[in-house]
């Protein structure tokens, strides 16, 4: 089986914990893709309820979001490699929702498993748990491993 494991990674403690948990539980060595999702500034503002229509330096801000996502993905991929995965970094833009973006990337790479933290900075946790509660049967279609940030002792 050469399908990769897809790690949703946002650099938070929760997503780091997910990497460790996966090493304990999931068969490896295996191929892995470490995904960091970035959200365009205009969408972030709209979600935040901003009435600002034009952000003068929107492009610049997006560039910095992209750069940050790339750094996070690279850091996550390095962590996954240290833990024995053959991992590559990947970033993707969330045009609709983070959950949908993860789903789409999972499809594209034909992931055998999606791994995410239970509580990240909010986006992943909300996206995945949100999709679990509301749209899972339609959207997640692949096995999802949700790792707790603070595992029970």
């Amino acid at each position: 089986m050469d399908k990769p494991v897809l790690f949703c990674y946002d650099g938070s403690e929760g997503s780091r914990a997910a990497l460790s948990v996966a090493v304990e539980l999931v068969m490896h060595p295996a191929d892995a893709v470490v995904l960091a999702v970035w959200t365009p500034v205009a969408i972030q503002l709209a979600r935040g309820g901003s009435l600002l229509v034009d952000v003068p330096n929107e492009g610049e801000l997006d560039e910095s979001e992209i750069a940050a996502a790339q750094r996070i993905a690279d850091e996550g991929a390095a962590g996954a490699r240290r833990r024995g995965y053959n991992a590559s970094a990947r970033i993707a833009e969330a045009t609709e929702s983070v959950a949908k973006t993860i789903r789409d990337v999972a499809r594209e790479i034909d992931a055998r498993l999606i791994v995410c933290g239970q509580r990240g900075r909010g986006a992943f946790a909300t996206a995945i748990l949100g999709s679990v509660s509301h749209q899972l049967s339609a959207h997640a279609e692949r096995p999802v491993l949700i790792a707790p940030q603070h595992p029970a002792a």
């Binding site: 089986m1 914990a17 460790s20 948990v21 304990e24 539980l25 999931v26 068969m27 490896h28 990947r90 993707a92 833009e93 045009t95 949908k100 789903r103 789409d104 990337v105 499809r107 594209e108 055998r112 498993l113 239970q118 748990l129 679990v132 509660s133 509301h134 899972l136 049967s137 339609a138 959207h139 997640a140 279609e141 692949r142 096995p143 999802v144 491993l145 949700i146 790792a147 707790p148 603070h150 595992p151 029970a152 002792a153």
Partner: protein, 174 residues
């Protein structure tokens, strides 16, 4: 002191399969067998309630849902069936039952009691009520447990959604 030494038993706790006898619960066991490191111990749990039952009886089992002892016996048979499937999938498995309501709480409690390293379940806990209860048990377990949760999905669910229209692709498109 790092996390590994602080939680020395985390890795060793059994994998807990929440097993209600549904096709999806069976699929979840298969899925776990393929995804997880081999040779793990596993506990196959069937949660039951009188009247409401809460699981799919093993084939040819007839019982009166109002008779508590009958429901429990049927649940034990369902759990045993799940344990056989888990054995076949490569786990060192045994079945167990608990009377609990709501179902998710029984799963979370048994996981804590046995210090489970992982809870495995289908994205909905029941057959026959799909569309009403989809995701409810899995959602509640994931939200309430401080343990890792692996959720399996129906393989055909992909067909029900349209393909993504816009996707930021890399440079590896065919």
């Amino acid at each position: 002191m790092n996390m590994t030494t602080r939680f020395p038993n985390r890795v060793r706790g059994p994998i807990l399969f929440a097993y209600d006898g549904s096709d999806l619960a069976k699929l979840a066991i298969d899925e776990a067998g393929q995804q997880l490191a081999a040779g793990r111990t596993a506990l196959v749990l069937t949660v039951w309630q009188p009247f409401d039952v809460g699981f799919v009886p093993a084939a040819e089992v007839r019982f009166d849902a109002a008779q508590v002892s009958d429901v429990q016996r049927a649940a034990e048979q369902t759990a045993a069936e799940g344990a056989s499937l888990a054995q076949a999938a490569g786990f060192d498995a045994r079945g167990t039952v608990i009377e609990a309501a709501p179902t998710w709480k029984g799963i979370v409690d048994v996981a804590d009691e046995h210090d489970a390293s992982l809870i495995v379940l289908g994205s909905h806990g029941r057959t026959g009520l799909a569309g009403v209860l989809i995701g409810s048990v899995a959602e509640a377990v994931a939200a309430h447990s401080r343990r890792s949760v692996l959720i399996a999905h129906r393989p055909d669910s992909q067909d029900r959604t349209s393909r993504p229209v816009s996707l930021e692709t890399g440079n590896d498109s065919p």
